[in-house]
Symmetry: C2
Subunit: 404 residues, 2 copies
């Protein structure tokens, strides 16, 4: 671990090996791009003398591509590194007054802002939003619940990463209140507020470098900038009625929450794993060229109580395969495209309430003595995740407000 001079950074989940990007504002000032270090956000535009970071979203920076992402990250690590430690390690005398690191600190420190003094915004202007369905456990469980008389997995599931387009315009930043949606519900159909409001704990992958219409995407790391936490709120009673034959629509489109922080792929180097073995072997265009499974553990909290800790490690379809699939037909990528893993459920640890409570049949008992089959008004759900080496993905949280 490279140590930082920023107070508290080394002991946090947001040390120099992480450095996630977000968009923040101070009261009365416009939103702009920052990087999280410990419990501070670094205001990048004045530190790096680059107007791309004065934009109200990460998109212009993401559009520059991988070489620029790498260069900026390397520069930030230099600026934030504790030079004294390195100097000592080099076995020479230290001279704070003249060393580059001390000069860095003097120049940078005025632009470190405590997180409690800023408002975080949606970090990316979302272009297209695609949601996959990549967990074998989740797809099997949902199949058993929604279609009890059939094989839980559809015949296509092991051949391709099943996915669909969601509503990009209702992707909101963590902390945005989630209004309970109304709609046509099962049983019935009847009209009214959803009585089966659920979560889906997911990872979201943010595309930086675009492709042209008709081309396929190249290497995963050349296009995908980083990873965020995502909660794909789901009204199960609306979804169950509407979803045949064209898929989920209003049961999902009312809101999708994301963490304010995008962790660069580079920060997750130590989390990379081979990905689950696949049977049958995937077609050539879906063959894994590099390990893009990620050893991340999520935590799902309901009103502050941990109700599940699913692992991303053993997801059946890895994100490089999702990217290859999404573009194999020549569909172009745009900067700001967001694609999500689908609910992350692992052996015995589920990323949705419909699985945790088995469609409501086995409600959760909470410490306050109440039970939950699905979400009630006033409930707060918070999803967080940690990678090996103490890399935090931050959290995505939301509180349910009553239907109107």
């Amino acid at each position: 671990m490279t140590r930082s001079w920023v107070p508290g950074a080394d002991e946090s989940l947001f040390g120099l090996d992480n450095l996630p990007y977000g968009v923040f504002s101070r009261p009365g000032e416009p939103p702009r791009v920052g990087v999280r270090v410990g419990d501070h956000v670094l205001d990048l535009a004045p530190v790096l003398h680059d107007e791309v970071f004065a934009a109200p979203s990460l998109n212009p920076f993401l559009a520059r591509g991988r070489t620029a992402w790498q260069g900026t990250r390397a520069r930030l690590r230099t600026l934030l590194a504790d030079g004294r430690v390195r100097d000592r390690a080099a076995d020479g005398p230290t001279d704070e007054g003249s060393s580059g690191s001390a000069g860095n600190r003097a120049a940078v420190e005025p632009h470190l802002i405590p997180l409690d003094q800023v408002t975080m915004h949606l970090p990316v202007e979302v272009a297209d939003y695609v949601d996959f369905y990549a967990s074998l456990e989740h797809a099997s469980n949902l199949g058993r619940i929604f279609r009890p008389d059939e094989e839980p997995l559809k015949p296509n599931w092991r051949h391709l990463p099943v996915g669909y387009h969601g509503r990009a315009g209702t992707v909101v930043v963590s902390g945005t209140p989630i209004r309970r949606p109304c709609g046509q519900r099962m049983p019935g159909p009847s009209f009214g507020p959803s009585a089966r409001l659920d979560i889906e704990a997911e990872l979201g992958f943010v595309v930086g470098a675009p492709t042209r219409l008709g081309d396929r995407a190249g290497a995963f790391e050349d296009h995908v900038f980083g990873v965020t936490l995502l909660n794909d709120w789901s009204a199960r009673d609306i979804q169950a009625w509407e979803y045949v034959p064209l898929g989920p629509f209003l049961g999902k489109s009312f809101a999708t929450s994301v963490s304010p922080w995008i962790t660069p792929l580079e920060a997750l180097h130590g989390a990379r794993v081979a990905g689950r073995e696949q049977d049958p072997a995937p077609m050539d265009y879906l063959r894994r060229d590099a390990p893009w499974g990620l050893d991340l553990t999520l935590r799902v909290e309901l009103n502050g109580e941990t109700i599940s800790t699913p692992s991303y490690r053993d997801m059946y379809w890895t994100p490089d395969q999702m990217l290859a699939h999404m573009t194999v037909n020549g569909a172009s990528l745009r900067t700001g495209d967001l694609f999500a893993s689908g609910t992350i459920s692992s052996e015995g640890a589920f990323g949705s309430l419909i699985e945790v409570t088995w469609n409501g049949a086995e409600p959760i008992k909470l410490a306050d003595g109440t039970t939950r089959a699905f979400l009630e008004d006033g409930d707060t759900v918070t999803i967080s995740a940690v990678a090996p080496g103490g890399i935090g993905l931050g959290e995505v949280t939301g509180r349910i407000t009553p239907a109107t």
Copy 2:
């Protein structure tokens, strides 16, 4: 009909009662907003002295809302009207030299550009793209073809306008070549170029005025600016394999073509009809408050031969119902949202080849002696539409290029 001084306008489908908007450019100049009059495009920014029309998309103008749309249209009709005719009708002497209309013509005429001197661009920066499935004939036919052993209509179909999100980033302007997509196909699955490439003739509705997250949309005409022609290219063999349970994805996402012209709702006043009777009566939130069925006749041409002339008049779900449905869960609208009708098939006149050729079993015979079950490389499909009173919606065309 109000007559225009623009040569040829009154005899065309683009007279003063139409005035569709688009985005054009001349060689070496940036794209900007224009209105079509006959075979000319009027360059709006210099004529109206308004920089909103110097933008490369209609979005900034659309965001101004209905009162602005109405005001601009009224002003354009005044500027383009043939004052001499009105003066004669008023039974008074004409005096071109001093009349307002002659002054209008002198000021406006330099900004009328023949269409063959401009390139047309995508008129709208598409925010979210939603595709519905609103034709009873089409949904029934597809059900019979894709699921021959079941009831053709799913139980939800008569209760709500079934729809799904498509890929906004691959909405392209008419004339863009359409590359044949590759993917996992049925039968099989096997990998390769789609062998069952199809069209879907549709209307697209363009949202101007947005809503806030959590709110429902108000009156249809307060949010929707206008109508365009849309071809939702579809690879049936990819779609048939992938679409369960989350709906169409790669079978549709490679390209969706739209006309360069957006006809304002105001221009379609004379086309409005009550809409098809619905049984069961729709729920309250889907009740029609005003007639938003549209008496439009489409023409589908394959390599110049007319193969179908479906009517929009009897579509089961009307676009006001689609808008109400899409936002009943609180999903917000953005300026530039595009929602489409789904394939327009009417009694005996179909908007897709899979229906025309009944899944390829009854190929079309073309005048050159060849037959078509689905599209071949080099084929060109052109969809046009006309409303009562000689209002043209222009055309959306595309030529198939080979897979790579």
